[in-house]
């Protein structure tokens, strides 16, 4: 974990860190490798940008941005950080939460992962979750709000498909 102690302490005033850590799966889980959200195929959307970002801890961080073909300004960003374990993916999720200005995020759908949060109504849509060894952010990225929950579900479905294959 690269987060400094002061930031972690501040985060602890906003979130139940012990409770979150208790949610980390104890049993062995499938570890996803090389997941590429840019391969998602969604009608009416196309990939406009794919980036590989650098992290101090060298964990792979891939970003894909999708643009709506028919709705100018509507974009969705998917960030996937690949970790070595569920415990590390929670650490990454905590970093994501630490970098969110809102006093507190709402809980997200439990179906997405062992920990999930989302922006409340009124904020640009965004959803953040830890699933197995992945830390995932799906955010409305353009000048017009785009619903993000369907995209998060697509990511989960693609992971499931990848597992079956």
């Amino acid at each position: 974990m690269t987060m400094d102690a002061a930031t972690l302490k501040e985060l602890g005033t906003r979130y139940d860190l012990a409770g979150l850590r208790a949610r980390v799966p104890r049993e062995p889980v499938e570890l996803y490798r090389g997941f590429d959200a840019a391969k998602l195929q969604v009608e009416g959307w196309h990939v406009s940008l794919v980036e590989t970002l650098r992290r101090a801890d060298s964990r792979p961080w891939r970003r894909a941005v999708f643009d709506a073909a028919e709705a100018a300004g509507m974009r969705v960003m998917i960030d996937v950080i690949e970790c070595a374990s569920p415990s590390e993916s929670l650490d990454c999720l905590l970093e994501v939460l630490a970098g969110n200005q809102l006093a507190r995020l709402e809980d997200g759908p439990a179906s997405l992962g062992f920990a999930a949060f989302r922006h409340p109504d009124g904020a640009p849509p965004a959803i953040f979750f830890a699933r197995n060894n992945l830390c995932v952010t799906v955010a409305s990225f353009g000048s017009r709000p785009a619903p993000v929950e369907p995209w998060a579900e697509r990511v989960v479905q693609m992971l499931a498909t990848q597992s079956r294959d």
Binding site: A98, G99, N100, Q101, H119, A123, P124, A126, F128, F141
Partner: protein, 401 residues
């Protein structure tokens, strides 16, 4: 314009040319030559010679406040008269455009002079010196003093110097003859870049100033004559990029490194994208400190804000005046974090209208405002409606990637 090179040297069967020009010939110092820089977040640092015959020229950067005494370049010549000697110099290729007489002519001349001052030659001329050539007609790496340069007084800018290289044989009444022309992209900064930027060129240092970031910072802060003006212009620029809008989530890296390459990719791409206060503080600090400013990022906590003008908002649009319940907000601090310190905020514009109950708003960029407490001119008073707003005394300058 000067005539094309048809001088004495060519008629005598040789054609001297410029082979190399070294601007950053001393990587330890920036007092008499250029700074250590790199092209961008990939690849390698830019090494002298920045200009080499037949290759794409590389830019150079100078820090105004670091310049003291003589500024020099180093030049290698090829193809001159074997074992000969020549007087060599470089002069500004710029000639003011022909203008009509009278008032209009005077105004046009003035405009041309201003444009030239902002974007034209800042290097002055390479002073004449006698160069000894070897049996192949090549020189050794010769040091030339820059004369009439403005490097020690220049404002922030990204300028292009066009040089005409001239030679003269060592004979009474010999005339200067043009033999080459070179063009150079030169960045002028207020001071040596501060953190996260570094000057250690002993390895492939990613924190050396990036030329593509310099291009942007120098454009945003063009004409700034001191660090305060540069920081102010960078803050305004970050706040008003037309394809940005606000989201509470950090997009370009909360934990270091700051994803500067990605931020610039999105800026230049033109498509809309979102970012938050940490991203804006990173951008302001990183670009301003690239010009020699002394900013730090720092947070404060727990607040419900007054209405402010959102990132890239239109002050005449009521919907762009917003309020948030924030766990933290991150801004830029001059020199240190503290209640009495001046701050810069590229993420929003404050409402300076005293009546917060009505819909009248007076937008102001938070530029070198005292953080303060509850005085009407304080940043804190203008931003926070309720909450503690307690400071986290951890100054940050995130490394770049």
């Amino acid at each position: 314009m000067l005539p094309s090179p048809e001088g004495t040297e060519r008629k005598r069967g040789y054609a001297v040319r410029v082979e190399e020009i070294h601007f950053n010939h001393d990587v330890i110092s920036a007092s008499g030559d250029a700074l250590n820089i790199r092209r961008n977040g990939g690849g390698l640092p830019i090494h002298a010679p920045e200009w080499r015959f037949g290759q794409s020229p590389q830019p150079a950067a100078y820090a105004r406040n670091a310049i003291s005494g003589m500024v020099t370049i180093k030049v290698l010549l090829r193809g001159g008269p074997p074992n000969g000697k020549l007087r060599i110099r470089a002069i500004d290729a710029y000639l003011p455009p022909a203008t009509p007489g009278g008032c209009i002519g005077w105004i046009l001349s003035l405009i041309a002079a201003i444009v030239h001052a902002l974007v034209g030659n800042v290097l002055g001329d390479a002073g004449a010196k006698t160069v000894q050539l070897d049996a192949n007609g090549d020189s050794s790496l010769e040091t030339f003093e820059l004369i009439h340069h403005k490097l020690a007084v220049a404002s922030v800018g990204a300028r292009t110097t066009e040089w005409v290289w001239q030679a003269r044989v060592l004979r009474l009444f010999a005339r200067w003859r043009e033999f080459d022309r070179t063009s150079h992209r030169i960045f002028t900064l207020i001071d040596v870049p501060r953190g996260p930027w570094e000057q250690d060129a002993s390895f492939n240092n990613l924190q050396l100033p990036w030329a593509d970031a310099l291009e942007k910072a120098c454009t945003w802060a063009v004409g700034a004559a001191d660090a305060d003006a540069a920081a102010a212009r960078i803050t305004r620029a970050v706040n008003t990029r037309s394809n940005q809008s606000y989201t509470p989530a950090t997009v370009f890296g909360f934990d270091p490194p700051y994803q500067l390459t990605s931020y610039m990719t999105h800026l230049d791409g033109g498509a809309p994208f979102v970012l938050n206060c940490t991203d804006c503080a990173n951008a302001v600090t990183t670009f301003a400190n690239l010009l020699g400013c002394d900013l730090w990022e720092g947070r404060f906590f727990n607040m419900v804000t007054r209405k402010f003008l959102t990132l890239n908002g239109n002050s005449n649009n009521a919907g762009d005046w917003v309020s948030w319940n924030w766990g933290y907000h991150e801004i830029c601090w001059l020199s240190a974090i503290g209640v009495t310190q001046p701050v810069y905020d590229g993420c929003l514009q404050l409402d300076m209208d005293d009546n917060y109950a009505d819909n009248v708003h007076v937008a102001q960029h938070p530029i070198k405002m005292n953080f303060g407490q509850n005085a009407p001119g304080d940043y804190r008073f203008r931003l926070i409606e309720s909450g503690t707003g307690n400071l986290e005394n951890i100054p940050r300058r995130r490394t770049v990637a």
